[in-house]
Amino acid sequence: TVGCVALDIHGNLCAGTSTGGMNNKKYGRIGDSPIIGAGTYANNKTCAVSCTGHGEYYIRLGFARDISALMEYKKLGVKEACAAEIQKLTQLGGTGGVIALDANGNMAMEFNTSAMFRGYIKSTGEKEIAIFAEE
């Protein structure tokens, strides 16, 4: 799965996710990637979210929308909200990761696996590309 979240100079957020699904899948199985609110969500009031991982768990949690709800109703920051949601994923037995970005350019790249291919660039010049958890 690949994904991207972006904030443009007009202050608008967008999230996108694309996937080849699960190896050896049957029965027309579909994961969270194309499901709005599960693998992808964006709202200028809160954040833009793209997920990667074991889709069934993300669907059951309403993962991406839940992060937005944690920010909107519980007033969590984007990083805190993503960390809390990954905690829920872990407790449920799921694995994967998430990237998110709020309207102020604050971002999160959280995961409970040993690696997630990831990177970001901000208009401030701040930049990172990483693979493993310890990076």
Partner: protein
């Protein structure tokens, strides 16, 4: 506001430094860098976040490194079946395609659903037909074939069929 930012991922999993060579790591990092740079260039020039998201994802879809587009894994019947979605934070407009086999860049189809249909998600042959009508590039399913992913499917299927003592029952 002149502030912009772009964040990408290329999938999460159980890889470790011991299972990936430095060359492999560098290949992944170079492709992530390329996707980020393409998105940033658009954002810097005033493009919308949706344009940047689609451009960055297209680069990763076109790479065999990631499980999307060209590097997609296989279904049990040996086909590549793709899903994608996009959502706009300004107006909560959204689009998605699921279970498509012939759209070269599924993220572009998701965007077409978002911007040029009254629906949120289209699936299967109908989604492919819609994409064709919108002028998107379609390919034969074999375009998505990669040896590495096919071998991964065969290895998994072989493992599933491996005989165990339970097979002796009855």
């Amino acid at each position: 506001q002149e502030k912009y930012a772009i964040v990408i991922h290329g999938g999460a999993g159980g890889r470790s430094k011991t299972t990936m060579s430095i060359e492999q790591q560098n290949n992944y990092k170079a492709k992530l860098e390329e996707a980020l740079a393409a998105g940033e260039k658009l954002l810097k020039n005033g493009a919308s976040s949706a344009e940047a998201v689609v451009e960055a994802i297209k680069i990763m879809e076109d790479s065999p490194l990631f499980n999307a587009g060209k590097g997609a894994v296989f279904t049990s019947d040996g086909k590549n079946e793709l899903d994608a979605s996009i959502m706009n934070g300004e107006n909560l407009n959204a689009g998605a395609v699921a279970g498509v086999r012939t759209i070269k860049n599924p993220i572009t189809a998701a965007r077409e659903v978002m911007e040029n249909s009254e629906h949120v998600m289209l699936s299967g042959k109908g989604a492919s037909e819609f994409a064709r009508q919108q002028g998107l590039e379609t390919v034969k399913n074999k375009y998505f074939f990669t040896r590495k992913r096919y071998e991964s499917l065969k290895a998994l299927q072989k493992k599933q069929r491996k005989r165990t003592s339970a097979d002796n029952t009855g």
